[in-house]
Amino acid sequence: MPIVCLAIIGQQNNPLFIKTYPEAEQDKELRLHLIVHCSLDAIEEKILLKRAPVDCFLGLLYPTEEYRVYGYLTNTNIKLVAVTNDASMKEDLLCGVLRSLHSVYVDAVCNPFFTLPSKSAVFEAKVHQLVSAMQ
């Protein structure tokens, strides 16, 4: 699977949703959580440097030895982070995935009976569908 981790982080840098794929690998999960946490600094840097970027998609935040981390910042200061282990992946595809994740997130937020970060099988299924559509 090219996409290894997807995360949604709230306005106060609180994690709302974070999921690693494939789910069986527990040992990599903590490492990916740390990578996502570090990417928040990179996002803040990008915001300061670019003086309010015009596009929501921030592009490649920082590469590590085996992963590449992409960021997306919404108008409501929600950060979406995608970690991929596929170096040859085109940025446009990832941009599409993050936009779709944004749509799924907006639909979930508009549900008055559900607030992230609760567990929801439906939400996780929709996100999983996004990830598996990348194959």
Binding site: A52, T74, T76, V106
Partner: protein, 189 residues
């Protein structure tokens, strides 16, 4: 008599009930009059529970709805920069999507206070105008009070939207104007 309204996605949380959500899908429509009746009834419901709870409850509902609307309506837009751009978004696009028109007048004192004036506020279109009181000041005051009760929810919506867009503030409605005109004062905190 049903007005056709396309693509309004508002879900006011109402005592366990849930209005069916219409998204930006042209096939799903909701009659405008349903919305108006719901707004009138929600004010009526909370009024019957006692005065202090009504304004707070309606503002709380408005805050939640405003946050959700802000998420949905800013989804495909380029990033908004500073506070003034957020206010402009509120006055033009947001007002158009929620209240079907744009704000008529925006004033600021450049110290964090913005006054948005709408000369024909849609949600007050059913309120009797002040002139129908026939010049009687106590009746006029009563009419203004009624109009004010209906403005708690829009104030909450604006406040929720602003907070979600990263601008903490308080929103007050000015009931000195004659309905259906009204002014909202946004004070940045």
């Amino acid at each position: 008599m049903h007005a056709r309204m396309q693509g309004l996605s508002i879900q006011p949380q109402h005592q366990g009930g849930n209005v069916s959500q219409t998204t930006f899908n042209p096939k799903k429509r909701c009659a405008d009059v349903c919305m108006e009746l719901l707004l009138l009834e929600s004010v009526h419901l909370y009024k019957n529970r006692g005065a202090p709870a009504a304004s707070a409850a309606l503002e709380a509902i408005g805050m939640r709805v405003g946050k959700q609307l802000a998420e949905r309506y800013t989804k495909d837009r380029p990033r908004l920069g500073e506070t003034l751009e957020v206010i402009k978004f509120l006055c033009k696009d947001f007002w158009l999507l929620v209240f079907k028109k744009q704000v008529d007048n925006l004033r600021t004192n450049h110290k964090g206070v913005y006054v948005l004036t709408d000369n024909n506020f849609r949600w007050l279109s059913r309120s009797p105008p002040i002139s129908s009181a026939g010049g009687d000041p106590s009746q006029e005051e009563a009419l203004r009070e009624v109009a004010l009760q209906h403005l708690h929810l829009p104030c909450g919506i604006l406040r929720g939207a602003m907070i979600q867009l990263g601008v903490p503030c308080t929103v007050e409605a000015d009931h000195k104007l004659s309905p259906p005109a009204c002014a909202f004062t946004i004070r940045l905190s």
